[in-house]
């Protein structure tokens, strides 16, 4: 094993070790050692990722096995790594954000009983996510895929005594399992038709897959590659919370805020985006799937954004914003602009993690109140949180020169180019992503103004916390007394990660757009069929440097929409706070639809959850209890019993009964003999 290969192993194993130590021996070694060991693990991993990143930039790509998981016939399933530019970038993003979240957690979870458990989980998550991105085969991808799902489940339900939390985590797991159902079938189809699960070997056979068809029912024939990519994308829809499998993500906000930043914004939910990018050699071969991806992304981008506009819980606003941004990434995938999707994934990881962590800081400052209607004017009390939040919000709405601008504008551009090429679904996608800019700007700055500016509404709120984020597993004395607790800035362990994340939120787009999108950074790791999908080439032709792009954008439609979104939110929430309430009354139907999140939760509860239980009860009571057991099993027992009761009567034990029977028998026999002879 070379030194570099040892380094590859170190990246996932260091956080795993931290997770094991703090998970199994957390109580023994105490809080400080627990967080020290896990942070050391993730820091090691981050540093190693950096070295690997540099090595990959120098042109060293690795693809090899670590160990053989199992063999069966000719099939050999291995655990192995594929270290290429795409992986290296993901490793760096994952470990960096994870490190920031680890540090932040020291402050955020300070008073919690489950401190060590929490560190163990987030380190385990980091391990799982790394296994996912470093995989060189579908099996290991699925391992990581499910492992991040498991940790997400554990962390959403971290405060396991809260009914909402344990409802949310079960929901998240099951909705993800619906996606995994498709994902597994996609993997199975690949294995059945290529005989291997290694990326490289599968991609080598991609064109032969594209030439095959499959018949699902007699007389019908569909393209095999379309079915495969569609099923794989169903998996991505679950993990990356795409419509209609998005329902679990808003509820996942029941988890502690650090994991909302790490898992439900920056890394895990982008696994689907990463996966589709990784599978670009397959997706490129099916226009039908790509169009489907485009439409699903567009629906998610726009309609989940709408929901963000009316939320009052600070974390839920960001959650819907995450859904919407994931929709943007999906649109880029559908337009075959995989590098743009991953570029947005990266910038989004930084600024969304920043926004979530800043929201967490606000929640600490507000003594665990998450309702934005109780905030206002916090900029005076929490200057660092305020400024970093502003950076995050500006990045999110796509302000020129901020990181989010470069990635989001690129997505809008490729959607436009796809529309110009007449890609099915692209017109709808373009309209959605452009309209989404206004929506994003509106809800982002609605949140910003409500939290940091305006009247200090917390002075009028009796502090009984109804929806705090921070109920420990112990009965924490929450501020229930009459006097007002002034908000306060959070400690350094909280604000330092904010600053560290604000820097890339500001700069990373400007610095990396050229190499990542146009400089061939991704090299062989992304495949685009240039003849069918020339959008990236055209985007490159339009690109004349990062500075130029920003300057050029100010007379474009998206910039205007973003500006008007900010202006409108300022007018609504700073100038005339009575208007939103009036609008909610005037358009109460629309408001109710939004408030009920389009009714998906009710429908799913009624149809899927209720339906499955009703069906189960029916099969049990009618099938098992009445029919099989009642009729066949106990029925045959009863028949035997009845039969023996009847025959038992003949054995009464009285001699005259037997004698009488004998006489009749003799009589009958004699008669018969006489008649026959």
């Amino acid at each position: 094993m070379t030194d570099m290969q040892k380094l590859y192993l170190l990246v996932p194993l260091a956080p795993l070790l931290g997770a094991i130590v703090s998970g199994l021996f957390g109580r023994l070694i105490g809080r400080t050692l627990s967080h020290a060991v896990t942070i050391l693990g993730v820091a090691t991993s981050c540093w190693a990722s950096w070295l690997i990143f540099r090595d990959v930039q120098a042109g060293h790509v690795f693809n090899g096995a670590v160990y053989t998981w199992l063999t069966s016939g000719d099939l050999r399933l291995q655990v192995g790594f594929l270290i290429d530019p795409l992986t290296a970038m993901m490793m760096l993003v994952v470990t960096f954000v994870s490190l920031m979240v680890h540090v932040y957690t020291i402050g955020y979870m300070h008073d919690d009983d489950g401190y060590q458990r929490f560190f163990s989980y987030i380190s385990l998550f980091t391990f799982s996510m790394l296994i996912l991105v470093m995989a060189n085969n579908f099996l290991q991808l699925f391992f990581g895929w499910e492992a991040v799902g498991l940790v997400s489940y554990l962390l959403i339900g971290f405060w396991y005594t809260r009914p909402t939390a344990i409802y949310a985590n079960l929901k998240a797991f099951l909705v993800n399992r619906v996606g995994d159902f498709g994902f597994v079938l996609g993997i199975a189809l690949i294995l059945a038709h290529t005989g291997t699960l290694d990326y490289e070997a599968v991609f080598a056979q991609a064109t032969s897959l594209a030439s095959q068809g499959i018949s699902l029912w007699p007389g019908q024939h569909i393209s095999l590659i379309t079915l495969i990519t569609f099923l794989l994308f169903v998996g991505a829809m679950g993990k990356s919370a795409q419509f209609p499998l998005h329902v679990w993500l808003p509820d996942s906000m029941e988890g502690p805020t650090p994991i909302s930043a790490l898992i439900h914004a920056a890394t895990m939910v982008t696994a689907g985006i990463f996966m589709v990018t990784r599978m670009s050699p397959l997706f490129e071969l099916s226009q039908a799937t790509l169009s489907f991806v485009l439409v699903i992304g567009a629906i998610t981008a726009l309609f989940m954004g709408f929901l963000g506009m009316i939320q009052n819980d600070i974390k839920r606003v960001i959650a819907y914003s995450t859904l919407s941004q994931l929709g943007y990434m999906t649109v880029a995938l559908g337009a075959s602009a995989y590098s743009v999707a991953v570029f947005h994934l990266m910038t989004h990881a930084f600024f969304k993690a920043l926004l979530f962590l800043a929201a967490g800081s606000v929640i600490i400052g507000m003594h665990h109140d998450q309702d934005m209607r109780n905030m206002g004017g916090l900029r005076k009390y929490m200057p660092i949180t305020w400024l970093t939040s502003l950076v995050g919000s500006l990045a999110l709405i796509g302000t020129p020169f901020f990181s989010g601008f470069y990635s989001k504008d690129s997505i809008i551009d490729v959607a436009r180019l796809a529309m110009e090429h007449g890609t099915p679904g692209a017109t709808f996608a373009y309209v959605s992503v452009v309209a989404g800019v206004f929506v994003t700007a509106f809800y982002s700055f609605r949140m910003y103004f409500l939290v940091f500016h305006g009247e200090e509404r917390f002075r009028h709120v009796a502090h009984h916390v109804t929806h705090g984020d921070h109920h420990g597993t112990h009965d924490e004395p929450v501020a229930a007394h009459g006097h007002v607790h002034a908000p306060h800035e959070s400690p350094l362990v909280v604000t330092l990660p904010l600053i560290m994340l604000a820097i890339p939120s500001l700069l990373i787009g400007y610095v990396t757009i050229q190499p990542m999108l146009f400089g061939g950074y991704f090299g062989q790791s992304i495949f685009i069929n240039g003849v069918l999908h020339p959008e990236m080439a055209e985007l490159q032709a339009e690109f004349h440097g990062a500075g130029e792009m920003a300057l050029h954008s100010v007379d474009g439609l998206p910039f205007f929409l973003a500006l008007s979104g900010v202006a409108l939110s300022w007018f609504f929430y700073m100038k005339r706070p009575d208007i939103p309430a009036m609008l909610a009354r005037r358009f109460s139907l629309i408001y109710r639809i939004l408030e009920n999140k389009y009714g998906f939760d009710e429908f799913n509860d009624w149809f899927f959850s209720g339906g499955a239980r009703a069906l189960g009860r029916l099969l049990w009571q009618v099938g098992d209890v009445s029919l099989i057991d009642g009729f066949f099993v106990n029925g045959s027992a009863r028949v035997v019993g009845w039969f023996s009761t009847v025959t038992r009567r003949w054995q009464s034990g009285y001699i005259y009964h037997y004698a009488f029977a004998m006489i009749i028998g003799v009589f009958a026999l004699v008669t018969w003999f006489v008649r026959t002879t």
């Binding site: 063999t71 069966s72 498991l150 399992r177 189960g616 099969l619």
Partner: protein, 495 residues
């Protein structure tokens, strides 16, 4: 070395003789001695079974460790033993489970201790004998004899409806196996007076005869698996059985049915097996989906796990009748894994039952707060039951789904529904039992695991994780035998 020649006899008779010895301690005044003796007996059984693994030759599909001596010469019935890659893992699983059961019953069983322990030890030996038998009559004797201790375990140490459950279990399985006996006798005459299973396998038979034999075997083995619709004895038996009984029932007895398909049905009547494959696959898929839905609505934890067992065993029968390497090995992996996972699930329920004397999900809630260590173990086993990668529960299911896709898209589609249903019924139960606030005062008083329970669950946790992360050693054992069997089944036996 003596053990080298009579290893299988030792694996069979060491537990049985230890059982007899335990029985000799008599009444409950000697309960302590009975327990210790039983533990030694079970450990000795595992110890003598271990060389089966270490000395096993993975290169050959021939029977290994064979022993032969005449038993009833008049009928040409022989004491003929041997194992291959299909039976060996199951014997190890059985010997291991016996240790678990003895430990699990250590404190809980206070009534007729020596008889309880002896029943399990004797049963363990009989089951080993059944897996090792190469003579059909010898197999039949072991096959039926092992019902007796299990019948007693349920009937004597069981719950309130134990008599109903025990008799239902006994009659169900007995009725099925009688037809198998008829099949054996028929084959005996066709083979010119031989009960050798290997002779049966070589015998040419025409299709109508094969189908009749198939039905006879099916009746015997489908009841054991159990396959839908002959499964209804299992939930009742589980609910009434003491924890140890449930563990053996789930971990071992259910495997006998699947083993029977592999050892008898497939090689003796291959053409009929192909002919009836669609039928078996349909029943297996019904088991996966229908039973999964039924499991969802159970209020009794043991019933829920019993139904989930049926659903998981559906993967074993599905994998066997796909007739490809991946499917058959997946089925075997699933059988071994289910042995660990179902044992762990029933032991976990046992841990709770011993404290609160209730199996109702609704009587619990908030265990995570009062029994955090137990909650962590139970989480792991629940995830294994839901087939999470990294646990043994994933390996077999994954292999069978992959194998099913090679045959038919819809087989894989229906089988994969277990991803959703398995997670739904397992984690919903977990949520209601372990998460949430402690509502009942009885629950608030519960104490966490004692060392004995901790040890038991920890060993299983290691096995579940180990097999999930590195299943290669297990599948390597099976390759030769499975390939040999598949090659055999692929050849028509029509005259």
């Amino acid at each position: 070395m003596l053990a080298g020649h009579h290893l299988l006899s030792l694996v069979i008779w060491v537990p049985i003789l230890s059982g007899v010895l335990v029985l000799a301690t008599g009444s409950d005044r000697q309960a302590g001695l009975a327990r210790v003796l039983a533990l030694f007996g079970a450990l000795a059984g595992l110890f003598v079974a271990w060389p089966l693994y270490t000395q096993f030759n993975v290169q050959t599909a021939d029977m290994q460790f064979t022993e032969f001596s005449s038993w009833i010469p008049a009928l040409n019935i022989n004491y003929h033993l041997g194992v291959d890659g299909i039976s060996m893992p199951l014997m190890l699983l059985n010997s291991f489970t016996t240790v678990l059961v003895v430990v699990a019953g250590w404190r809980v069983i206070q009534n007729k201790v020596s008889q309880y322990m002896a029943a399990f030890l004797i049963m363990s030996g009989l089951i080993n004998g059944m897996f090792a038998a190469l003579d059909a009559m010898l197999f039949y004797v072991f096959f039926e004899a092992m019902l007796i201790p299990l019948f007693l375990v349920i009937g004597v140490w069981g719950g309130p409806r134990r008599v109903y459950a025990a008799i239902k279990f006994f009659l169900y399985t007995l009725l099925g196996s009688l037809l198998m006996l008829v099949a054996f006798i028929y084959l005996f005459f066709q083979c010119n007076g031989s009960f050798e299973i290997l002779d049966f396998q070589a015998l040419p038979l025409n299709l109508p005869v094969q189908i009749l034999l198939f039905i006879a075997f099916f009746m015997a083995f489908a009841v054991k698996v159990p396959m839908w619709p002959v499964h209804t004895w299992l939930p009742d038996a589980h609910v009434e059985a003491p924890t140890g009984g449930s563990v053996v029932l789930a971990a071992i007895t259910l495997k006998i049915g699947a083993y029977g398909f592999l050892r008898f049905t497939l090689p003796i009547v291959p053409d009929a097996s192909h002919y009836m494959a669609g039928f078996i696959i349909t029943l297996s898929l019904i088991a996966v989906v229908y039973i999964g839905l039924v499991a969802l609505v159970q209020a009794d934890m043991k019933k829920l796990i019993a139904y989930s067992s049926i659903s998981h065993m559906g993967f074993a029968t599905l994998g066997i009748f796909l007739f490809n390497t991946l499917g058959m090995e997946g089925a075997l992996v699933q059988m071994v894994s289910h042995g660990f996972v179902s044992a762990a699930m029933f032991l976990s329920v046992g841990v709770m039952y011993d404290r609160l004397h209730s199996r109702q999900i609704g009587d619990y809630g908030g265990l995570a707060k009062v029994m955090p260590v137990f909650a962590a173990f139970f989480m792991l086993f629940s995830m294994a039951n839901a087939g999470l990668p990294g646990t043994s529960g994933f390996v077999g299911e994954f292999m069978v789904i992959m194998a099913a896709m090679k045959v038919n898209f819809w087989y894989a589609f229906l089988a994969a529904i277990t991803l959703i249903l398995g997670a739904a019924y397992t984690l919903w139960m977990y949520k209601r039992v372990v998460f949430g606030d402690v509502v009942r005062t009885e629950v608030a008083k519960l104490r966490d695991l004692v060392p004995r329970e901790f040890f038991m669950l920890a060993v299983l946790a290691v096995l579940v994780l180990g097999m999930g992360l590195y299943p290669l050693p297990l599948t390597e054992i099976m390759h030769s035998s499975v390939n040999n069997l598949l090659a055999h089944v692929a050849q028509s036996k029509l005259p």
